[in-house]
């Protein structure tokens, strides 16, 4: 699409990722210059540590959300409820390792089970949290695909109600716990690297396989691009919509577990607050258009990393949290402007990346 621009040197498969990668590169460069020892990666007590590792560890939750959000946005929808689903999943897990809660709600046998077979109990906890998350996603999917409520409204319902549900589960209390087995999810290390990274990698690979080794990816894009024509071509539009919200719910549940076990507590009001906005930003920066159609999982991951790098840069520069939002907003604005063909044509001239296309993501080549 960009024969007359520098874009022609970039393999088609990477073109959608160009601008977020450029922004990420610039941000890293800034850090390398202004943060001493930024690239240093050392071993501390058997684990790899350093600024770069922190980005991956801190960004795990948003990366996970971005995976599910990518699929939802590709169908032309959006999922505002992921932050609330994170809270539900986290609160469920935190409650189920709290003996008083178990005794009051599930019966004393659960505490016996927890005491005798903590591994089994943790497995049950994970199962319960994730099933609840998938059900929450299914609720969204039902509102959107069966009752045809606009996604932004349909998921807003759970965004608001979800935190109420989480509050209800824990009776408004903030449970803290000390269960190393559970905390391993958020804090543990495997081969010296944060365990959460392996979860993210596993989910990304599984989602990639799910969408590209089957026809699911094609059908998601088809639904997002023209749902009427998709239906007329026999695409099971309703089921596809249903499915992507369930996947998004599952990703949110995992993200909630990582985020809460990392701090060994679950706050129904604060956990995952505004994470949905970060996830949406990551997806859009990654080259998937909000109008649906072609989607780019890799781009979303880069978008999430970009966001986390930005946040961590603020920490490293000791920018106070109240002010940190402003430079963050400015960088986000800059990336969005870089992505806008109209802006590039007007302001950057030579970088104008060729023809005016509706959106770079939609006109882009391979996935």
């Amino acid at each position: 699409m960009a024969e007359s621009s520098p874009m022609r040197f970039i393999p088609p498969a990477l073109r959608p990722l160009t601008w977020p990668l450029v922004a990420l590169g610039l941000l890293l460069l800034f850090n390398v210059i202004f943060t001493p020892g930024y690239l240093h990666i050392g071993m501390v007590e058997g684990r790899v540590s350093g600024y770069l590792v922190d980005i991956f560890r801190d960004g795990a939750a948003v990366m996970l959300l971005a995976v599910g959000m990518t699929l939802v946005i590709a169908t032309g929808g959006v999922d505002l409820s992921v932050g609330a689903i994170m809270a539900i999943s986290a609160v469920l897990a935190a409650s189920m390792v709290t003996p008083e809660w178990n005794e009051a709600n599930l019966g004393a046998w659960t505490n016996t089970l927890m005491a005798d077979h903590i591994g089994v109990w943790i497995a049950i906890i994970l199962l319960v949290s994730l099933i609840a998350s998938v059900l929450a996603g299914a609720w969204n999917g039902m509102l959107v695909s069966v009752f045809k409520i606009q996604p932004i409204i349909a998921t807003l319902v759970l965004m608001v109600a979800g935190r109420g549900i989480a509050q209800l589960i824990c009776s408004g209390r903030i449970f803290t716990y000390d269960v190393p087995g559970l905390e391993y999810i958020g804090k543990g290390t495997l081969f010296g690297l944060p365990f959460s990274l392996f979860i993210v990698a596993g989910v990304v690979l599984a989602t990639y396989a799910l969408t590209r080794a089957t026809a699911l990816g094609l059908m998601i894009e088809s639904v997002g691009d023209n749902d009427v024509a998709s239906r007329c071509s026999g695409v099971p539009v309703r089921n596809i919509r249903f499915l992507v919200y369930m996947v998004s719910g599952l990703c949110a549940g995992l993200a909630g577990l990582i985020e809460s076990t990392n701090v060994s507590s679950a706050n129904a009001n604060q956990l995952g607050l505004y994470f949905e906005l970060d996830a949406i930003f990551a997806v859009v920066v990654g080259g998937t258009a909000l109008t649906g159609g072609r989607f780019f999982l890799g781009g979303s991951i880069i978008g999430a990393l970009l966001l986390q790098t930005l946040t961590n840069t603020m920490y490293a520069q000791e920018v106070s949290p109240e002010i940190a939002l402003i430079p963050k907003a400015l960088v986000i604005l800059a990336v969005c402007l870089l992505q806008s063909p109209a802006f590039r044509r007007r302001v950057l001239g030579v970088f104008g990346a060729g023809k005016p296309s509706k959106s770079r993501a939609k006109a882009g080549g391979a996935a």
Binding site: T214, A215, M219, V223, R231, C232, G234, P236, G293
Partner: protein, 535 residues
């Protein structure tokens, strides 16, 4: 009317042409409008009616010829420009905001203000004056969509007339109105005509044309065909002019062509459409489709052809009758169900129901086959590429490669991609709705040829086209529809364009005699939404 014709004409269009890349949309068109007359502009799809209106209203500049309006040459550069000159237009879709009040709709863009603030009292009075001109008394503070579609249409007319109009162009104003609403609108047109206004009336509904029009101008393929007094032009001749055939010469030629297509004698019956119908869409229709037979659905636009096809393919669910295949009755509720029965369909509206514009040619071609196999049994990338390459070659699809987004191809090539999509699933019954509409002559020939090949290979086809000659040529059986009702069926030797036209004309006349006049079955709003939705 008779006295007005002695005045010099209000609008004189002479030799106007308009070309788009690859298409000559208007070629030397003439149009003469007189004050105080209703002038119908008729023609099939793609005849150039819309383009002519857009030239008159300044949406497109014209390439050649002159437009003389009210005694001086004009070439409006924008719709505002045309409005200032005195040409006002009400388009097919009501161009108003249903959730604003009547007054707001009438004054939007020209609110009376004082010091930057809207003077609501003056706005209301202005709205009331504008409504008086069309003989309406409404509570202008109420929301527009509290009123019926006909009233909304009249408000749109009032808004158009607000600007000192001399010529009013009505583009398909009645297409979403029911019978009594049409009556109201035609009454209004009559009274505006008495007031000296010239009205250019564009419609597909013949009954309305004959009820209200003084003169009729027919366009075909962008060219001027004839201007006649309505009372001197029999309905049958009008249809002949629109579709481009001398009614008398038709019969002889048809007989020859028919002989060529009769050789294929049908085997058994593949499917039987048993009174399939849907309230507000099409009255129950019934016909048989033989193995390897081509059944044409004949009729003018809006006659119920597409609606029938949509019921068979399950895009809309029928509420009466059934589709019998292999002796079992079905009522497909979705295209998926129809596909399971071995049915395929290329829809009439490529952009809405057909292509997935931003996906590649390859993705578009494999989509239906992939849907049929299911999500989990993906067609391997190599098989996808082979499939795409095969059809790009065999259908001669002009694209730079298989990965090009299909939305960037020309209409004819998009149509071929859609044909490829369905050929890939190897259907038993293939419904082709307007496969040749809106594509250039070359591609048209190729697609006609392809359809003939399919028929010869023994695929059963349902063929729909606005070009009745095309329908007559390829079909062994023709089901004739008029005003969303089946009005007859022709078989074998009896099929000719002439015979189809006669059947349509007769059906129309019969209804006129029955004093109810023309009787549309409009698509309700609900229906429209349903069409736009997914499932």
């Amino acid at each position: 009317m008779s006295e007005s014709s002695t005045h010099p004409p209000l609008l004189l269009v002479r030799g106007v042409s308009k070309s788009f890349p690859g298409v000559r949309a208007l070629d030397n068109v003439e149009l003469t409008l007189r004050r105080g007359e209703v002038h119908a502009l008729m023609g099939e799809n793609g005849a150039g009616k819309s383009t002519l209106i857009k030239v008159l209203t300044g949406v497109y500049p014209h390439d050649g010829g002159t437009i003389e309006f009210d005694g001086r040459a004009i070439s409006p550069a924008s719709p505002r420009d045309a409005e200032r000159a005195g040409i006002s237009t009400v388009y097919q879709e009501v161009n108003l905001v249903p959730t604003l009040s009547v007054a707001e709709n009438l004054c939007v863009g020209r609110f009376p203000t004082r010091g930057g603030l809207i003077r609501w009292g003056a706005a209301r009075r202005r709205a009331e004056t504008a409504l008086e001109r069309v003989g309406l008394k409404l509570r202008v503070g109420r929301q527009l969509d509290e009123y019926s579609l006909a009233i909304q249409q009249m408000v749109a007319i009032a808004r158009a007339l607000d600007a000192e109009a001399k010529l009013l162009i009505l583009d398909e104003p009645t297409s979403s109105l029911d019978e009594s609403e049409v009556d109201r609108l035609l009454e209004l047109m009559d009274s505006l005509r008495s007031g000296g206004l010239a009205i250019l009336f564009v419609t597909h509904f013949m009954g309305q044309v004959y009820r209200i029009s003084d003169r009729i101008t027919v366009l075909r393929n962008g060219a001027f065909v004839a201007e006649s007094m309505a009372k001197d032009l029999p309905r049958f001749d009008l249809i002949g002019q629109m579709v481009g055939k001398d009614p008398e010469a038709l019969r002889a030629r048809e007989a020859e062509v028919r002989a060529l297509h009769q050789k294929k004698a049908g085997g058994g019956t593949l499917a039987r459409v048993n009174g399939l119908g849907k309230q507000g869409s099409v009255a129950p229709v019934g016909f048989e489709i033989g193995e390897g037979q081509t059944v044409g659905l004949g009729g003018l636009l809006g006659s119920g052809r597409t609606e029938t096809a949509r019921l068979i393919f399950g895009i809309d669910k029928a509420d009466a009758g059934s589709l019998e295949i292999d002796g079992k009755a079905h009522r497909p509720g979705s295209p998926r169900e129809a596909m399971a029965l071995g049915i395929a369909m290329t829809p009439d509206d490529r952009k809405v129901n057909g292509i997935i514009p931003n996906l590649s040619v390859r993705d578009n071609i494999v989509l239906a086959l992939q849907s049929k196999r299911g999500i989990w049994r993906r067609i391997s990338p190599k098989a996808q590429r082979d499939l795409a390459a095969k059809y790009i070659a065999s259908l001669n699809i002009k694209t730079s490669n298989a990965e090009t987004p299909v939305g960037t191809l020309s209409g004819g090539n998009q149509q071929k991609v859609l044909l490829a999509r369905w050929l890939a699933v190897n259907p038993r019954l293939f419904i082709l709705d307007e496969p040749t509409r809106g594509i250039d002559v070359g591609a048209k020939g190729e697609i006609e040829h392809l359809v003939a090949d399919l028929a010869e290979q023994g695929m059963s086809l349902v063929f729909i086209s606005s070009e009745l000659e095309e329908v007559a040529r390829v079909s062994q059986r023709v089901v004739v529809l008029c005003d969303r009702e089946q009005v007859g069926e022709l078989e074998g030797e009896a099929i000719s364009e002439h015979a189809i036209l006669e059947m349509i004309a007769r059906a129309g006349e019969k209804e006129e005699e029955g004093e109810t006049g023309w009787k549309p079955v409009p698509l309700g709003d609900e229906e429209r939404n349903e069409r736009d939705g997914d499932g």
